[in-house]
């Protein structure tokens, strides 16, 4: 997994609440068996007409809005557990998503792919949207070590919460598999000493 330390970038605003993973990547694009290429269909039905031509009023089709940070309304990533949603956002080029509230499974999926979910207050989220509305070129800085996000134009800054274990993983580019494989002896011993065991299916 790629390391995440510091990100300084413009941001793309999507001030809509309850954006579900079916919007991020519709089910009909889940037929691929690799992790690559989902960015082409990110927000497919908001971004393109049925004939494939871009919808001019959608934010990703407006060249004024650029950058590696996606800023979205509360309850981002709700619905389906499809990790393809995190893959699509990362494949498109985003490195972080900022919202006032993330759905659990999406948050976990993002973290497992080096895509940083940054949870800020509703108020701070509003400030980010206002800053971008005033100046689409406004830049944000996300510092994972310090767990801070700041808006360059207004010098406003806030802290964000982060699971300490996942923070170590992101800063170092570790993934959970490496850690879990290192636990195999402990896992085997747990299996032998369980109070109640469910037999395997075979």
């Amino acid at each position: 997994m790629e390391k995440f330390t510091l990100l300084e970038s413009q941001a793309v605003p999507l001030p809509i609440e309850d954006i579900d993973t079916d919007q991020i990547i519709p089910a009909r694009f889940l037929k691929a068996t690799t992790r690559e290429g989902f960015g082409d269909n990110l927000f497919r039905d908001w971004r393109f007409h049925p004939d494939g031509s871009p919808k001019a009023d959608f934010i990703l089709n407006n060249p004024v809005y650029q950058g590696a940070i996606l800023v979205a309304g509360r309850n981002f990533g709700c619905g389906s557990s499809r990790e393809h949603a995190a893959w699509a956002i990362a494949d498109y080029g985003f490195k972080a998503v900022v919202s006032s509230f993330f759905a659990d499974i999406f948050k976990g999926n993002a973290l497992n792919n080096g895509l940083l979910p940054v949870t800020v207050s509703d108020e701070f989220l509003h400030h980010i949207f206002s800053a971008i509305e005033k100046n689409p070129a406004a830049r944000m800085e996300i510092n994972l070590e310090n767990q801070t996000i700041s808006i360059s134009d207004t010098s406003e800054m806030t802290y964000f919460e982060m699971d300490p274990y996942k923070k170590i993983c992101l800063l170092n580019g570790y993934d959970d598999i490496d850690f879990l494989l290192s636990q195999k002896d402990i896992i085997s011993s747990f299996e032998k000493n369980r109070h109640f065991t469910f037999n395997p299916l075979t």
Binding site: P15, I16, E17, D18, D20, D22, Q23, P26, A27, R28, L30, K31, A32, T33, T34, R35, D45, P50, G73, R74, N75, C78, G79, S80, S81, R82, E83, H84, A86, F101, A103, D104, I105, G108, N109, N113, D122, H126, D163, P164, Y165, D175, D176, I177, F179, L180, L181, Q183, K184, I186, I187, F190, E191, R194, F196, F198, N199, P200, L201, T202
Partner: protein
């Protein structure tokens, strides 16, 4: 100290604890399907990691399969490739597969319980958010992403922070025409589509206890639709009776031993929850959704509310514009074009018997297409053995073969743009049932009535 059902199961599965309190949580059962597993197997292959416990993972093909002519090769090349990939991966890694053509094939959350794979006290995961369904048996069951599918295959464990706990009590006798689906749609409408985020929910109270196992599955199934990590219900005699004699259920003395253990699981009397809600069954009417998330639901005789939160105004307006509806409208009498009865929420025998009893001797409205997709091959066979398929056919319904179908519109079962579909599935998101499709979530009874009448009616008066 008094413990909850969730605490007891959780504690029995903590292998180790790491930085910041994250637990290495042992997983008893892992279901996989064709859509969210191929990249996980690729990951194992790249690192040359074997599957750690092959006997605890079970596979089926459901999300991306056709629901007609399943005995023939899949037409659509990408879908065929994906389903073939599952067959190949299961063969290479020694995992049991109930694939197309197998008498146990079906929607993953339907086959687990009906085969007795799902049992109280277990931890169960699957790369699908409706894994919460299995919580109806008193287990910790939740949906995971593909990276986590890979982790479970590699280690039979996941790294998890213990969620907060919520209890939702529903008390009293249900009104006429109200089903388990209406209960959960009501709960979500009260708590919103994000009201359960960060929580694991225990459903309790007399109304819940009086539900059948299938009704309880419908309740737990939609826990994720309020953002909850999962939902569960204390196991009781009904649970034990349901499991007894199922293919993978413990047998004889083992069953007795298991029941003795399962009886220790329910929440202790003095246990406390981070948050608790109580609803009265008498307040619940047949429910319908009007918007584009499952929290946007109303009782059938209510009107679409006015937006109350100015911050949320854009999202609310966008949602109603998509649905072609207005604040203040009633859905009663709303003409619809499609009815979909199926999905892991409502495709079991109880649902289909309810539909059959309603449509028997009636005819669907001429302008409506009505599709019934059974949850599994076993459900399909049971429907046929009871002759319900003939009732469906006589009423003009299309009875198909098992799969996720129009719930997520991944195969060819899609609803055309801007047309209305009354659906027994779990999500009314934009485009969920096909680009531009307008989904109205409801119970199997309300859906059946909509098909017959060609419009939404109040089944409590029917």
């Amino acid at each position: 100290m008094a413990k909850t059902l969730f605490d007891k199961i959780w504690e029995n599965h903590v292998v180790n604890t790491v930085e910041g309190g994250t637990a290495v949580l042992y997983i008893d059962r892992h279901f996989i399907h064709e859509v969210t597993s191929p990249q996980a197997f690729d990951g194992l292959g790249t690192r040359n990691i074997p599957v750690f416990r092959t006997g605890q993972t079970i596979a089926t093909a459901d999300h991306n399969v056709p629901t007609t002519n399943q005995h023939l090769p899949i037409n659509e090349p990408l879908s065929k490739f994906q389903v073939d990939k599952l067959i190949e991966n299961c063969a290479n890694y020694g995992i049991s597969l109930y694939g197309l053509g197998h008498p146990y094939q079906g929607i993953v959350h339907v086959i687990g319980p009906e085969l007795g794979i799902t049992q109280p006290g277990m931890t169960i995961v699957c790369g699908d958010s409706h894994t919460s369904t299995h919580g109806a048996f008193g287990c910790i069951a939740f949906g995971i992403g593909t990276s986590q599918v890979e982790q479970v295959l590699a280690s039979q464990c996941l790294l998890q922070l213990k969620p907060k706990q919520m209890r939702i009590n529903v008390e009293g006798t249900l009104n006429r025409g109200v089903t388990a689906k209406d209960i959960i749609l009501y709960i979500i409408s009260q708590l919103t589509a994000s009201g359960g985020t960060g929580y694991f929910v225990e459903y309790a109270g007399s109304t819940i206890r009086n539900l059948s196992m299938e009704g309880r599955m419908t309740i737990c199934n939609m826990s994720i639709e309020m953002g909850a990590k999962g939902g569960l219900i204390a196991p009781d005699e009904k649970t034990f009776e349901y499991i007894h004699g199922k293919k993978y259920a413990p047998k004889d003395a083992d069953f007795e031993e298991a029941v003795n253990y399962w009886k220790t699981l329910p929440t202790d009397k003095d246990a406390t929850f981070d948050v608790e809600f109580t609803f009265q069954a008498s307040d619940i009417m047949p429910m319908v959704t009007y918007g584009t998330n499952p929290g946007m639901g109303i009782g059938i005789r209510q009107f679409i509310p006015q937006p109350t939160d100015p911050e949320n105004r854009n999202s609310f307006d966008k949602s109603l514009a998509y649905m072609g509806l207005n604040a203040g409208d009633s859905l009663l009498g709303k003409e619809i074009q499609h009815v979909f009865i199926g999905s892991c929420t409502n495709s079991r025998m109880e649902d289909l018997r309810l539909v059959a009893a309603y449509v028997k001797g009636k005819q669907k409205a001429p302008h409506v297409t009505a599709m019934i997709v059974p949850g599994s091959k076993q459900v399909e066979a049971q429907v046929k053995s009871e002759g319900l398929d003939l009732i469906f056919k006589a009423a003009g319904f299309d009875f198909r073969e098992p799969g996720c179908s129009a719930c997520l519109g991944m195969n060819e079962d899609k609803i055309p743009a801007s047309e209305y579909c009354v659906s027994t599935s779990n999500r009314n998101f934009e485009g969920r049932q096909g680009p531009g499709a307008r989904t109205i979530l409801a119970s199997p009874l309300t859906a059946a009535a909509a098909a017959i009448n060609g419009k939404i009616i109040d089944v409590s008066l029917d």
